[in-house]
Structures are given as structure tokens and as C-alpha cells.
């Protein structure tokens, strides 16, 4: 048994780490976040040039053939830098869905660009009423000629404001929350009838809600088999959960480092506050939460590309539950350990805290995944 990255994986992670160190100071991140695009086009370009946006795609489709472990290596470093580029949305989710379910024409049309970073994708899988249930789909796709007409609304599409192509779920048959009858569609960002309501996110990124008003699509827009997308979505969401675990671990590492550093240098009552036992124990608890999260991230990566099974489902639900809880714990206790300074915009800790808490709101929070895990108890 060996939990270490192999040489190639380590080199990959080092490459991302160097890039993030060079390009992603805290001050620059604030600039990127406030820019018109909402992230750094230049950094995104470099991710592409270094082949990082190609990591998860099969070699025959122009990718690097990376597994969940490679994707996590990239995401961990992006998490350490608190990077706001839409890697998860475009590469892991959008590109991943196209790669998994697309036909050769769709692969050819989209994957080269997504793998090189020249094309950006985003996914609309949630709806206002859906909470975190990706089968709760009310948007409808009606047959029209040899194509479809889509109506409905997709909620909180992170990175949707700058995506060239959107992968959205819509119902071609059945009732809301039926697994059967959900289909995926590829929609160009400038499609007629597609409206974006764009907003910043609390963690410094950007997203939108998508309003589909009689969006007319040709037959080539259907991604995968009609009505059978639920499994495809669940599978890819599982990979994205593994990727998010990586990001969370990266962010938690920095959050713990910052807190430990602060406990050593901040003096009150004539001593570094790290001399107080109550703060020592809290720091130990934070580290132990981080280790729990790290373990579950490793486990998640190990099943991310396995065929679907209840065991894969259980592990991914457990992993997301753990990182949700540990992320919130480290955020809250880290702020508390810092005192007021941990709450300020000017100091980076708060930004890690916000990202960590928001990771819990992507692809299901700890409560949601606890229920999923409980439903699979045997």
C-alpha cells in the first residue's frame, strides 16, 4: 500500500504549484476577482499551455489521460491559491460530461477547445426548486422537427457568465424528480432565447442563473441518449466531488498554516497566544479535521473513475460529507483563533474561510450527503 503520488503525478502537482505561486498572490486574486471577466484570462491561458486543462481527457480525444488522482493534484494547488478560474466547471464538469456522453462529432466540436482552454464550458444542472437533487429537473425540452425547444431555468451556474458552451439538463419525459426522462443539451452561449442573470459569488468567483425561453436547438445538441442523462450526470458529479475534495484540502492546508503561524506570532498577556491550551487544542482539532479530509479526498480519487456502484456512491457521499464538515469547522475555528483580524477583507484568511464554506454548497452539503450515505447503509 502506498499513498504517495508517483513521480509523474508529483511533477504535475509541482508544475501547478509553481504556476500558482508565481501568478496568484492574494492581491492579484482580488484584482482578478474584480475584473470584468471575473478571473485571470492570462492564468487560464497558461493552464491551457501547460496542458493542465487537458488532464482528465482520454489521450485519443487530445487529453492527458489523467485519473481522479491527477485532477485532484491540480485542484489541490488551485485550492491553495484560492484560484477562481472555472477549472471545475469547464474541464471537470462541462468537458467531462461531453467526454463521457458525447458522440464523435460533439467530441470533435468541443473537446479540443476545452482541453486547450480556448473554449470554456459551464454546466446548468440545478434549478431554483431542486435544492441539491440533480434529478429534480423541471426545465422542459420538447421535440420540434428534428430538434428541441427548451424552456425553464437553471440555477447558480458558476462560470456560466463567461462560458462559450453550456451543458444543461432538461426533461424530455417524466415528472420532476424522476431519474428517467432527463436529457443533456449543449447550448451555445449566444443562443437565441437564452438569458443570463450574472452575479458575483460570496467567495470571489462569478456565476449566473440561466433563463431558457424557447431556446431552439438542432438534433446535434442532444448530449448522450435522450432521457437517460441521470446516470451520466450522477457519475460526472462524483468525479467533480472528488475534484472539489482536492480543492478543499488545498484551501484547508493554507487555512491551517495561516492559523498556526498566527498562534505563534500574536502576543497577548505577554506570551504568544499559542501558549494557551484552549487554543492549542483547537489547533489540534483543526489539523485532525484536515487529516480526515485528506484521507477522504484520497479515497474519493481512488473511486472517481471506477465504474458506478453503490460502493462508489457511498465513498463519494462520505467524502463530500467530511469535507463539508471539516471545511466549515476549519473556517469557523480559524476565524475564532484569529479574532477580529480573521474577519477582515484585507487579510487572506477570511477568503479561504468563505471558499471552504461555499464548497459545502456545491454538489450537495454535508447534510445532503449524510442522507445519501444513510440511504445506502447495509
Amino acid at each position: 500500500m502506498d499513498f504517495r503520488l508517483n513521480e509523474e503525478q508529483q511533477m504535475l502537482q509541482d508544475t501547478v504549484a509553481r504556476l500558482v505561486r508565481g501568478e496568484y498572490s492574494f492581491e492579484k486574486r482580488l484584482e482578478y476577482s474584480e475584473s470584468e471577466l471575473g478571473f485571470s484570462a492570462d492564468f487560464w491561458k497558461q493552464l491551457g499551455e501547460l496542458g493542465l486543462t487537458a488532464v482528465p481527457f482520454p489521450e485519443e480525444l487530445g487529453g492527458f489521460g489523467g485519473t481522479g488522482v491527477e485532477v485532484q493534484s491540480v485542484m489541490t494547488e488551485l485550492g491553495r491559491g484560492l484560484c477562481i478560474e472555472p477549472y471545475l466547471q469547464s474541464v471537470v464538469l462541462g468537458g467531462g460530461l461531453i467526454s463521457q456522453a458525447g458522440n464523435s462529432e460533439q467530441h470533435e466540436q468541443w473537446l479540443g477547445g476545452i482541453a486547450s482552454g480556448e473554449t470554456r464550458a459551464a454546466v446548468g444542472l440545478q434549478e431554483p426548486q431542486s435544492f441539491y437533487d440533480l434529478n429534480d429537473v423541471e426545465a422542459r425540452a420538447e421535440k420540434s422537427g428534428d430538434g428541441y425547444v427548451l424552456n425553464g431555468r437553471k440555477a447558480v451556474v458558476i462560470g456560466g457568465h463567461c462560458a462559450d458552451v453550456l451543458v444543461v439538463s432538461a426533461r424530455t419525459s417524466g415528472n420532476s424528480r424522476d431519474a428517467d426522462g432527463i436529457s443533456l443539451f449543449l447550448i451555445s452561449a449566444d443562443a437565441e432565447g437564452l438569458e443570463h442573470r450574472t452575479y458575483p459569488t460570496i467567495d470571489g468567483s462569478r456565476g449566473c442563473d440561466l433563463f431558457l425561453n424557447n431556446v431552439k436547438l438542432g438534433p446535434g445538441a442532444l448530449l448522450g441518449e435522450e432521457g437517460k442523462a441521470a446516470e451520466v450526470i450522477e457519475y460526472q458529479a462524483g468525479r467533480a466531488i472528488s475534484a472539489l475534495c482536492g480543492e478543499a484540502v488545498g484551501a484547508m492546508e493554507v487555512a491551517c498554516d495561516l492559523t498556526l503561524e498566527y498562534l505563534k506570532q500574536r502576543k497577548q498577556f505577554g506570551v504568544p497566544i499559542g501558549k494557551f491550551q484552549v487554543l492549542q487544542h483547537r489547533m489540534v482539532d483543526m489539523m485532525s479535521e484536515l487529516e480526515q479530509a485528506r484521507s477522504m479526498a484520497i479515497l474519493a480519487a481512488s473511486v472517481a473513475d471506477e465504474p458506478q456502484s453503490d460502493e462508489r456512491r457511498r465513498i463519494l457521499a462520505a467524502a463530500k460529507n467530511v469535507i463539508g464538515r471539516s471545511g466549515q469547522f476549519i473556517s469557523e475555528q480559524g476565524i475564532q483563533s484569529h479574532g477580529g483580524i480573521g474577519m477582515t477583507w484585507e487579510y487572506n484568511f477570511a477568503h479561504y474561510a468563505k471558499r471552504l464554506v461555499m464548497i459545502n454548497h456545491q454538489l450537495g452539503d454535508d447534510d445532503f450527503h449524510l442522507e445519501r450515505f444513510a440511504a445506502l447503509l447495509k
Binding site: R197, T201, F269, H361
Partner: protein
Amino acid sequence: MNLNYTAEELAFRDEVRAFLDEKLPADIAAKVKGFRRLSKEDHQRWQKILNEQGWYATHWPEEYGGVNWSPVQKHIWDEESSRYGAPRSVPFGVNMVAPVIIKFGTEEQKQRYLPRILTGEDWWCQGYSEPGAGSDLASLKTRAVRDGDHYIVNGQKTWTTLGQHANMIFCLVRTNTEVKAQEGISFLLMDMDTPGITVRPIITLDGEHEVNEVFFEDVKVPVENLVGEEDKGWTYAKYLLTYERTGLAGIGISKAALQHLKELATRRTKNGRPLIEDASFSQRIAKVEIDLMAASISNLRIIASVEGGGMPGAESSMLKVRGTEIRQTINDLARRAIGPYAIPFVEEEMDLDYDGDFLSDENAAPVTPQYFNNRKLSIFGGSNEIQKNIVSKMILGL
């Protein structure tokens, strides 16, 4: 044992309710209930209404224009005004510096400052914490050196809440460096317009400007602005902190926030049903409601024990810890209730006069910022760790 209000107390509650029904402006109540920003003008408008009723200074003796309510009456007022969505009074003038001036100030200070607090002419802020003096407040370094009829003040204060609105500040300053830390501190009142005072905003993680840094560079403060005796400021500071600590538990606010959470959970859906009908989410709400019920009775027990006069002791520290934990849990649940919509930061919807479509729920926009902002509750007014130190020392003798 009798846990019911007396007939007089019930009559008082009716009077409070009638007043709030009639006088509380609907727009202000809507802001408070929806966790939206209050402007300086909102606070001042409500203060004027309260002052006209004679109910602004609930902690003052009647001779200075206070109400002199019993602890139970104050409690009824807190409960009802929170429930109706009345803003909490900004405490720095009326509930912090005023009790100190009343107890330790000169006749001139009382004559000059107390009426101006009642009318709202003066907006006070607090100069306690410094970059190097947080939990260890007594290590403060802002220096005041006597020079004839003045003190010359140099140094820096921080976390000065709403200092951007204030025209007056009360400060703890070091007047003696020869003695042990607590014995060389004095309590000074300063006009914020005095040359040499600079206010710089601190933006918090939710993007809000609520707190400030205040810098003092050769600020000339007349000696008549000293409260009490030189070097005895620590005594006054501690006296003030006992006032600060009561009410920090925020039981009334938690009750209002719980109501807000339930409404949110009734409108949000999960599996096609209202979220509040979801077994696990409703149990989370139930658990915090039970905790709040217990804390609320603990609060009443403290109130009853001081009904005869005096200030609550270290019990209020325990209640501060509990109360702030409960408020933070309610904020956590509200954030959970809006699910994916916790992520968008839709600032425009936080203004009451926003007239566009709401992204998800009319009350969703402030929820996540509020959750992050209220991490402060366990830090300010003496961090919860310091409160526990107080309890272990004062009650347990450890």
C-alpha cells in the same frame, strides 16, 4: 415558583405592543426583519421616536431622563422590540458611556453630554481595542500625556464600530507607564473633529463597512474631558463592560432570527416539499429552538436574580457564550436552507427599495453575508474564550 408575568407586567407588555404597533416605522422594521442594512438616518429616526416616548434610556435613572424600568420590564422591552423588528439602539452612547458618566462623571459632564445623547445630537463610538490589545485589553498603548490644561494623545484604536458616523469617542488611554498595566489607564472623552484624529474604514469579509481604525496624532484633549480620576480608568472600563455584556446574549434577536429561518425553510423546497417538512432539517431547527428555550429561561433567571437592583455577575458570561452560539447556529441553518443560493452575492437585493425580481427568495440575499458577519459574535465584547476564563475564575475559583 411562578414563571408568569404579574398583572402589572402584562399591562406593561400591552403598552409596549401598542406603542410598537403605532410608532415603529414599517420600512425600518422590514429592514431589521430581513437583515438589511440600516442607515444612520434609520437609527436616528427610531431614536427620536423612542426619546419622544421617553423610552430611549432604559438603563438611566429618571433624574437624567431615563425610564428606570425594572429588569423584567427591560426584558419585556427587549423581547417585544426584537419581535416587532425594532432596531437595537446603537449602545455606545446610551448604554455604555452614559452609565459611566452618570456614575463617575462630573456634574458638568452630565449636564453637557447626557441630554445630547438623548436627543441624538452626539453619536458616540468606543475606543477600547488596539492592534496589540484585544483580549488583553489592559496592555493598551495609546498614550495621553498631560500638558497644562490638555492631554496630548498619540496612538491607535481599532474595531471601532460605526465610528464613521460618530462625532464623539470615549477612549481608554495610558496616562502612567510606571505602574502595573491596569493602574495607569484613564478614561477620556474626545470630539472626533479634534485635529489629529483620523478614521480609516476596515472592510469585513462580507464586504461591509461597519468597523474602523482610529488614529490619534498629537490630539489635544482638554483635561475637563477626563472621566473620574486619572489612572483609574480600568475601574470605569470594567463597569462599562458589565453593561456591554448584558444583552450580548441576544435572546430576543435569536427569537426573531429563528422566526425568519422558519419562514425561509417554509418557502424553500427539497424533494418537492417545503424544507421545513424535511425530517433532518426540521430536527436541526428543533434542536436550536430547544437550546434557545433553555437559554431564554436562563436569561430570565438572571433577570429575576437582579430584580432587586445590582448588575448580573459572571452568569452573564455563560449566557453570552450560549446566546452567541445559538445565534450563529441559526445563521448557519439559514445559510443551509437556501442551498445552492447561498453562493450568489446579490448585493442590490440587500437594499429595501430594490424593485427587481429576487434571484431566489426575497430574504435570501443577506443570509450568507449575515452568517459570515456574525462570526464576530463569539469574538467581540470579550471573546467567548475570555468569557469562559471569567466563569472559571469567578464562579469556579479555578
